[in-house]
């Protein structure tokens, strides 16, 4: 199964549809309620970052298999202003918008794998994976 889904993030309510799509996919894969909540929350954070900082972007969902493991992969891609110092945003309590500053480090803790790459002025890509246990 290599189907990929994508949700465009442009409005605040797109965050909800991204979250619902991710949650449904997670449920279908057999994740428990706690992991479903973790995945939905992580998607919510990533989508909100796109909405708040980049203005628009996409979230891709697919299923990854690394025999015998199976999991859900979420990629959040935007063409926004990018992040100057990734080390800084990964620290708890750092926020440029007056928020809690727990978003990205929180996502890292919620998921099993976390990769972030960003080019200032060109955009950001965050890829996270949660493995099914």
């Amino acid at each position: 199964m290599n189907s990929q889904s994508c949700v465009n993030i442009e409005k605040e309510w797109d965050i909800v549809s991204a979250r619902q799509l991710g949650r449904n996919l997670a449920r279908k894969l057999g994740f428990g309620t706690v992991d479903q909540a973790r995945i939905a929350t992580a998607i919510s954070e990533l989508a909100r970052n796109i909405y708040l900082y980049a203005g628009s972007g996409e979230i891709y969902f697919d299923i990854v298999e690394d025999h015998p493991k199976k999991g859900i992969r979420i990629r959040a891609i935007d063409q926004g202003q990018g992040i100057e110092d990734i080390g800084k945003v990964m620290k708890d309590g750092y926020s440029t918008s007056g928020g809690l500053g727990a978003g990205l480090p929180g996502v890292k803790r919620l998921m099993d794998e976390f990769h972030i790459s960003s080019v200032p002025g060109a955009g950001t890509e965050v890829e996270v994976v949660k493995w099914l246990r």
Binding site: E12, V16, A37, R38, E45
Partner: protein
């Protein structure tokens, strides 16, 4: 509109309608059947009415009264817009085909004229129908928005000094603002000492939602009341911990019941059974369930 062509269309309206009905019948019955229960009679009747409306548009150009009542009735019935737009598309094809086949009357030079005429005739109708439908949808959306806003942040006074705000559904920025306003306004109005914010129905608590809750609780504290966060489901508790959100500044409880008991305690009250038999029954039930 070319008089010759218009006359031709009107004179042969029965034939065109017959051709159209045959095509529409094949195309749409199946599609429509999935959306609503439609009897053959209703379907045929509506098709005939539709055809009459289309032809009355040729005869008295510009009058949209009939079209309006017709589309309003279909909206009431809940028929999809695609029934009308597809029907009009078929009508366009049928009419153009029919006219171009009248080779003894319609000459080669008339071909472009025919296409233009049919477009001029059909397009305003489609335009009008789409407008009617989308206007109706916009109306529904705005009504639902108002309804949603009424539901979005209610504050319920339960006993003297204690109020509850049950939150259900997604919290976005707009709603978060409303929650804050209603909370502060309600606390002063009802003279509340304790506010219970129930998040049982909130599907996801991310940092933004948590941030708004913390701000609201902090604001409540500033005006001299206590905010207790209740209805934290186990999975939500885990994600809050994973996110590293600090909710230590105000009390939290798992359920509304526990929160209410805590609120009573804070206001110097507690629940007692009138005859003391409640405890006994509970004890009895407990022993029964153990057996």
């Amino acid at each position: 509109m070319n008089k010759k062509l218009q006359g031709l269309v009107l004179k042969n309206s029965d034939e065109i309608i017959r051709l159209w009905l045959r095509k529409v019948d094949q195309n749409h019955k199946k599609k429509l059947g999935q959306v609503a229960e439609v009897s053959d009679e209703l379907f045929e009747g509506t098709n005939r009415e539709f055809a009459n409306v289309i032809f009355s548009m040729v005869e008295n150009k510009g009058s949209t009264e009939e079209l309006k009542t017709f589309s309003e009735r279909l909206i009431q019935l809940g028929w999809p817009l695609s029934y009308l737009t597809d029907g009009m598309q078929v009508f366009r094809n049928v009419t153009v085909d029919y006219l171009l086949n009248q080779t003894e009357i319609v000459t080669k030079e008339d071909c472009i004229e025919v296409l233009h005429m049919v477009d001029d005739w059909i397009d305003p109708i489609i335009h009008h129908l789409v407008n009617e439908y989308s206007g109706n949808w916009e109306n529904i959306v705005s009504l639902q928005k108002v309804a949603l806003q009424e539901l979005s942040a209610p504050l319920i006074p339960v006993v003297q000094g204690i109020t509850i705000m049950p939150l259900i559904g997604t919290i976005d920025t707009e709603r978060a603002k409303l929650i804050m306003e209603n909370l502060l306004h309600g606390v002063t109005k009802h003279n509340a000492e304790v506010v219970l914010m129930d998040i049982t129905g909130v599907p996801v608590v991310d940092t933004m939602v948590a941030h708004h809750i913390i701000q609201a609780a902090e604001a409540v504290r500033l005006i001299g009341a206590t905010c207790i966060l209740v209805g934290i489901r186990p999975e939500i508790a885990q994600t809050i911990v994973n996110l590293g959100i600090n909710l230590e500044r105000f009390p939290t409880k798992s359920s509304l019941k526990k929160g209410f008991e805590a609120a009573l305690e804070l206001t110097g009250r507690r629940i007692i059974d009138m005859d003391g038999s409640g405890d006994k029954i509970e004890e009895l039930l407990e022993t029964l369930s153990k057996e």
